[in-house]
Amino acid sequence: MKIAISILISLAGLAFQIQSVDAQGSLTPPAAPGPAMLTLSQVEPRTPVDAIHTPGNGTVEFAITNSGSYFLTTNLFGVSGKGGVGIYTNDVTLDLNGYSLLGASVGSAGVTVFSGTTNIIVRNGLISGWTGLGVNCLAYNGILQNLSITGNGGSGVLLQNLCQVKNCTSSGNQDNGIQINANGCLISGNLCNQNNQGNIIDDAGIWVGAANTRIENNHLTGNTSYGIYIDVDLGLTNNMIVGNSVQGDGANDYFYSTAQIVGPIMTNNATGIITNSNPWANFQF
């Protein structure tokens, strides 16, 4: 009986083995071919920034002159005497796509959004080493977000009317980290380090020459002259400054007049423990 069982088990094993060596697999097609109807321009409908799609002019290397959604496909390097990307029209989104606009110490400004434009978004990349401004945003309703703007010969960012700078880094620029020249801007959640490398009097990590801005939750360290500076000589009012932290400028961490709305300034004390519970407080240390 044991012998019979042994033989049966062995034969069963042999049968399994035979099944597993079906070499060619199923010859039946899995299904009818499906439609592959997308064109390449549907797969990536945005417009690349390059010499073919956005040819430059005497001022900028690449010029955007039509509304639309644009993106970088590689790092771009500056050329002597020209800006990097110029935006000349309304309703433009420029996605740096994680790439860099590198001025190579010869290009004038990284991105220039020309005056008279509106609804401009620039985001998601690095802008570095331009001889002038990192981003010169003269638009009405310009939004800069998730940018790293470093080592430029002018300010990192210059803003005009009703613009927003959110979640950006502006560091190591010769002039201001973020410079606001017109009213109603929102500056939120940015990092400004080691700006005003040129040690220009009254320049700052965030320099405000306008009214009605909201400057909130920014962190600034090691900026020469001032941390956050409101140009009181211009008679500016109603700038709201809350939740910021500034280090490295001592008594000049903040400079503002009583015509603004400012959270109480908390300084480092003997214990190092924050005792002020005001949620709008600014920090200096």
Partner: protein, 344 residues
Amino acid sequence: MKILPGHKLSAPRLRPGVRRQTERDAAFERRMLSKMRSHVRCHLISESGVAATALQELREFGRFIAALLLLGFAIPALRAQGNLAPPGPPGATMLTLSQVQPRIPVDAVHTPGNSATEFLITAPGSYYLTTNIIGVSSESGIEIEANDVTLDLNGFSMTGPPTANFGILVFSGYTNTVIRNGIINGWNSINEDIFSEGNDITIEDISVSGAGTGIACLGVGGVIRGCTASLNGEYGIYLGGPGYLVYGNTCFGDNAIDEANGAAILINGSNNRIENNFVTGSGPAGYGIAINTGITNSVIVRNSVQGNWPNDFLFNSQQLTGPLITNTVSGMITNSNPWANFAF
């Protein structure tokens, strides 16, 4: 057992563990062997030896078969050149274009419109723009008549002439709509860039401008987050239903026609939360953030409004609102309430 001539016969040896025959059988076997040795010179086999030998041979046969099978299993592993049989039929090794971009483009082929709209979405799915959309007179840009639709403007813009209807229209009765990432402007001076009667809508990272109202939501529930509403004629954001979160938006220059009842954000539904919005420069005859009479239980906290003083905020005691902090003589905020709103 085969006995050759001259071979010395002996009693069969039993392997250890095999029980010996009975003594009687053994004695019989010895007698038989003795008889065989003395009288027989031919091939003889003991009767008991036949059984033992047959059993032994059967066992050996079984072991042989088992060994063969084991060897069969072992052979594939011993093949030096590897298995020559293909592992299976050839499989797909590349992505199709529709796998690279699985979403559905908004265009005349995939989302054809009708007499009321340029493009019509009638099935759940994820849709995206592949170009700017320019409005047509008396039509909307995109209408959504389905549940569970995500519409990504993909950074493109939708621009309507003043004679068009809505930029995007979400019909009543539909739920779970997401609209994001683009620019919508100028669809109609008395209509809206985005008008929704659907429920559970999310609108994020959209710039709306130059319409009668930037965003108007009349259904139940939704989120409006990270948007910019600017230069709209009457309202930047209008809530006509309950259950909305309006968070982190920027509104400037709304109520451009400067109506007394206009506002950057107008709430005409209960149980909404309006938080951390930045409002500036709305028409001075109207309001920054306002709640209509009869509306209850809206939470209004951490907003800042400039330019409509003393009407930066309009609300009644039936809401939950953070205290108003206004500019003081010193300019320093002394109110430590974390839910405060700012008016200046």
